[in-house]
């Protein structure tokens, strides 16, 4: 057969290149028809050659073919399937070859690859970590079914600047009367002593009404939840163990139900164990070790109320309905007048300060991620221009523009995925750091994990970054002129204009973002400094405080309490080294509030001037001397309360008696109260806190004589000698008087004040970390651009030097390029920062959002770094040997 000679040689590789990749459906059908037609024609020709007449030959050919339509159908099915399979195989093999190639590229330049992956990992990791915090605290704060319908119910004064928990009566009224509510439950928390044998342990206990768990949709992992009979007054004592306590004290034994645990001296029957991550929304302080029934006592002062709102009810409607119910209650019980309902979500509960902080941090970390992307894009661009000839050769070999672009995208996606994977690790470790740094009030952060939502967002972020930093280089590289690149034997003199402009824009953007972050971090540093430097009004040095708790119900009368507090004091004063001691309700920063409608004799308030809550302290006459808190006018009050003597602070005195003395004036908190006489004016105690406006009634401070009103009191002590273990000494002395007295929270006032700075310190640490990262990345980016342009312009530098340009001139030339980029970025960054720092106001103290010192310093630091980043490549440019540079081609 001679046909075979006419076929092109079967070289598989070549055939693949020539072959139309895939055939269309119509094409498949036409090919089959053509093939069959050819066959029939040949057969007819053969028959005719043998002398068969034309019409017979044709029908004979058809007969011998057999069932043609069946064959056609069969072949079509086969071809289409073949086609589809081929298509799939080709896509996969191209992807596989792209990947192989990308991997080879990554291996070939390990330094570039490592730098890119680490940069991305830091960006993606930091973003993921902060996002998981934001997700936990703001987006999905209640990780229970329908958590978005769970609110915290309170009553607030009509001005809305203060709220308290509802009373059991009010909760009952809401339960019966508010149809917007699906369920309502109450809870609280307290400290308790768990003892087995002689190993007593202070624990945090949560108290729950019997319907809390049902409302949250949570069940104990072992045993049963609380039942309504458990919460009745005088019911047999029961306890639900926290998971940690169960593991620790009972080794996770399943038969723990029915055993007893001694809590506050009384045996409690264990009825169950709660899951390890169980917390109650709106409960301060996170996971609890034990859960006790919240006693169902209608006369109790109040408890936290948790409610699940019916779907579709908005908060305005809910607040209105709850207020209406309260108004109805006020008809018979006037104490509910002058109140309105206030439903809070966890986000509201956090306070706007924390919300702002989180959003600022999220914004900051997003900027870091953007800088990371810009940096990697920059690196890719620089590398793409050195790979120009490779692309040109591939294009000449038949790779389309799209194919080369896709190859580059595959490479950047691979980088992004590697960065993302490492980023998850960074996020994981980063969360540990964040939790370790967190201020006390963000206890919920301990529960933050890389949840499925967070992981999804992180993966999305990774893919997005891959496209973000990969797209521009891919487009610029694939747009290259093949002929030009192949012909030029060396790199073009100035690089491609578009790519160069793009890279400059990227660096400017990086500098701009870094400046913004640096300004933010700088403002927070200034805030910390200001807070530490702030004059708090008294001298905390050497002060220690401890809380003494009398045993429940053993000293019901004030006289009895006065005796026991007096005995403690007497014993302590007899011990050498103890020095001065006194009692108070608390010690700054832990002091109290007092509620009541302020009335001042001789002054009538306008409606908007009403004051219903003030900072208050109950103190002994010695308190002021001990704290070195000067009484600036008048005198301290006497020990007794019968004279109704009080002290106020300077801010309050100045506000109400701007031109006269406050001493001798009388005031009271509510029409039913007795008048009290101001006998002295005390310096302001100002514990610095961020985001609080100066002035207003929250700055007014009142001191009342310490009157042994409560079963707990704070001992303040300024030792004049060294006492090795003050906590133990205090416990021992207290036990000597009554073994039931418990001593807690022994700590220096200085450390308590420092705790107050935990929030700002947390913000500052994170923002400094982000700003530092941004600065490093931007510096690397700037350095990269300058260094690259120096290598591109080696020849030009050589010529300049050969023509007699001095080294300083070349140095100036290169450095001015860096300076231009930096200057543009710096100015843009400072302007943007000036516009944006407003959102940080609630995070600042003692410094304006437009603090000139910070702005100038940031400018100087960035300028310096930029000079260094361009100095080194510039110095290299001056050392170009003209002979070598000119001969390089």
């Amino acid at each position: 057969m001679s046909e075979r000679n006419r076929v092109a040689p079967n070289v598989r590789g070549l055939r693949r290149l020539i072959r139309f990749p895939w055939r269309s459906r119509t094409r498949v059908r036409r090919d089959i028809d053509d093939e069959f037609q050819f066959h029939l024609d040949m057969r007819v020709a053969e028959l005719r050659a043998r002398g068969v007449p034309p019409e017979t030959a044709h029908s004979e050919a058809l007969r011998r073919f057999g069932d043609m339509s069946d064959a056609r159908e069969y072949c079509r099915t086969m071809d289409e399937r073949f086609n589809d399979e081929q298509q799939r195989r080709d896509v996969f093999s191209e992807l596989a070859s792209d990947l192989r190639y990308a991997l080879r590229q990554m291996r070939r330049s390990p330094a570039f690859t490592t730098l890119a992956i680490v940069t991305l990992a830091l960006g993606i990791g930091a973003t993921t970590a902060i996002f998981s915090v934001v997700n936990r605290l703001l987006l999905d704060p209640i990780p229970y079914p329908d958590g978005d319908r769970i609110v915290n119910l309170n009553r607030s004064n009509l001005q809305g600047n203060m709220y308290v928990t509802p009373t059991p009566k009010l909760v009952e009224a809401w339960r019966k009367g508010a149809h917007s509510l699906e369920a309502i439950a109450t809870f609280g928390w307290k400290e308790a002593i768990v003892a087995s044998g002689d190993d007593p342990e202070n624990v945090n206990a949560g108290t729950l009404s019997s319907d809390v768990l049902r409302l949250l949709g949570v069940a104990p992992v072992v045993g049963r939840p609380f039942l309504p009979e458990d919460t009745k007054v005088g019911a047999p004592k029961v306890v639900l163990l926290g998971h940690g306590m169960w593991r620790r004290r009972f080794a996770g034994a399943k038969d723990v139900v029915g055993q007893t645990l001694t809590i506050d001296g009384a045996p409690h029957t264990i009825v169950g164990v709660m899951p390890s991550d169980f917390t109650v929304p709106f409960m301060d302080g996170g996971v609890r070790q034990i859960w006790l029934p919240l006693e169902d006592n209608p006369d109790a002062a109040g408890a936290q109320a948790l409610a699940k709102v019916r779907p579709g009810v908005d908060r305005d409607r809910l607040n209105r309905e709850l207020s209406d119910v309260m108004a109805a209650l006020a008809v018979t019980q006037p104490e509910y007048k002058e109140w309105k309902a206030l439903a809070l979500r966890p986000q509201d509960y956090l306070g706007s300060g924390t919300r702002d902080t989180l959003l600022v941090l999220l914004g900051a970390v997003a900027m870091v991620l953007l800088i990371a992307c810009a940096n990697v894009a920059n690196l890719l661009l620089a590398r793409a221009s050195t790979r120009e000839r490779e692309f040109a050769i591939r294009a000449a070999l038949g790779a389309g523009r799209w194919r080369i672009g896709r190859q580059l995208l595959t490479e950047s996606m691979l980088l992004a995925l590697a960065g993302g994977a490492l980023g998850l690790f960074v996020a994981y470790r980063g969360l540990d750091v964040i939790v370790a740094l967190r201020p006390d009030r963000l206890a919920d952060l301990d529960e933050v994990t890389l949840s499925p939502t967070v992981l999804l967002v992180s993966i999305g972020l990774t893919l997005l970054t891959g496209v973000l930093f990969g797209l521009a280089p891919a487009m610029l590289a694939s747009a290259h002129d093949i002929g030009h690149a192949l012909k030029s034997t060396t790199r073009s003199a100035a690089g491609h204009v578009a790519a160069r402009r793009f890279r400059s824009a990227l660096v400017i953007g990086e500098v701009c973002l870094s400046v913004m972050l640096l300004v933010g971090a700088g403002l927070l540093v200034r805030t910390m400094v200001e807070m530490q430097r702030a004059d708090i009004g008294f001298d905390p040095a050497g002060l220690t405080s401890a809380r003494f708790q009398l045993p429940d119900g053993r000293y019901p009368k004030r006289e009895q309490r006065r005796v026991v507090y007096g005995q403690i004091m007497q014993r302590l004063r007899g011990i050498p080294g103890v020095g001065d001691v006194t009692w108070a309700m608390g010690v700054p920063p832990q002091t109290g509030m007092i509620f009541g409608d302020l009335e001042i004799e001789g002054i009538s308030f306008r409606k908007d001037e009403h004051v219903s809550a003030l900072w208050s302290q109950f103190a002994t006459p010695e308190y002021f001397k001990l704290l070195r808190l000067p009484v600036v006018a008048g005198r301290p009050f006497g020990r007794d309360t019968v004279n109704h003597e009080i002290l106020i602070n300077e801010a309050m005195a100045k506000h109400y008696w701007p031109n006269a003395t406050a001493v001798g004036r009388r005031l009271r908190l509510g029409a039913k109260e007795d008048w009290s006489t101001i006998v002295g004016v005390v310096r302001d105690v100002r514990v610095p806190s961020t985001g609080r406006r100066k002035g207003g009634s929250m700055d007014y401070q009142m001191y009342f004589p310490f009157a042994e009103d409560f079963e707990s009191a704070t001992l303040i002590i300024r030792p004049n000698g060294t006492i090795p273990d003050l906590a133990r000494l205090l416990s021992r002395e207290a036990s000597a008087i009554d073994p039931g007295i418990r001593v807690r929270d022994v700590s220096t006032v200085a450390s308590q004040l420092s705790n107050e700075l935990a929030g700002p310190r947390f913000n500052m640490s994170l923002l400094i970390a982000f700003a530092g990262l941004a600065l490093v990345l931007a510096t690397v980016g700037l350095y990269g651009v300058i260094a690259y342009s120096v290598t591109q312009r080696t020849r030009e530098m050589g010529i300049r030097l050969a023509l007699g340009a001095g080294q300083p001139a070349v140095l100036r030339l290169v450095m001015s390029q860096g300076a231009r980029l930096t200057a543009v970025g710096l100015v843009a960054g400072l302007l943007a920062a000036a516009a944006l720092t407003r959102v940080m106001v609630s995070m600042l103290y003692g410094v304006s959002a437009l603090d000139p010192v910070t702005f100038v310093l940031v400018g100087a630091v960035l300028g310096l770094v930029a000079v260094l980043a361009s100095y080194f490549p510039a110095r290299r440019a001056t050392r170009v040997d003209p002979v070598v540079a000119l001969r390089a081609d």
Binding site: E3, R4, R6, N10, R15, E35, F38, H39, R64, M78
Partner: protein, 110 residues
């Protein structure tokens, strides 16, 4: 290779096609002529079945198809054996030989 096990003829025909193509590239008509020639007209292949076999073998990757130009200057679809087809042919041929030998052994015994 997807083969219909019930229809013995498919398999038989496939082997014959593979064998024929082992001599070189050929179009469908050429294959049909060659088989007739070799079997001296004993086996007349139905054309429809032949084409079904060709397209089946192509999908299985045993042969490859390509448009070329025939003796009389017409566009024709030529088939060639792939390495995989060659392997297939070897395996099938040996199976056939064993089969035929077994049948012979029975038929020739007294």
């Amino acid at each position: 290779m997807a083969r219909d096990p019930i229809d013995l003829l498919h398999g038989t025909l496939d082997v014959l096609v593979l064998k024929t193509l082992s001599w070189g590239a050929m179009h469908g008509y050429g294959i049909s002529r060659l088989i007739e020639e070799r079997t001296r007209g004993v086996l007349e292949i139905e054309d429809a079945a032949l084409y079904k076999s060709l397209h089946r073998l192509e999908r299985a990757g045993s042969i490859e198809a390509e448009w070329g130009v025939s003796d009389n200057n017409r566009k024709a679809k030529f088939y060639t054996l792939t390495p995989r087809g060659r392997q297939e042919l070897r395996a099938e041929a040996s199976t056939w030989r064993q089969y035929a030998a077994a049948i012979f052994a029975v038929l020739e015994s007294v």
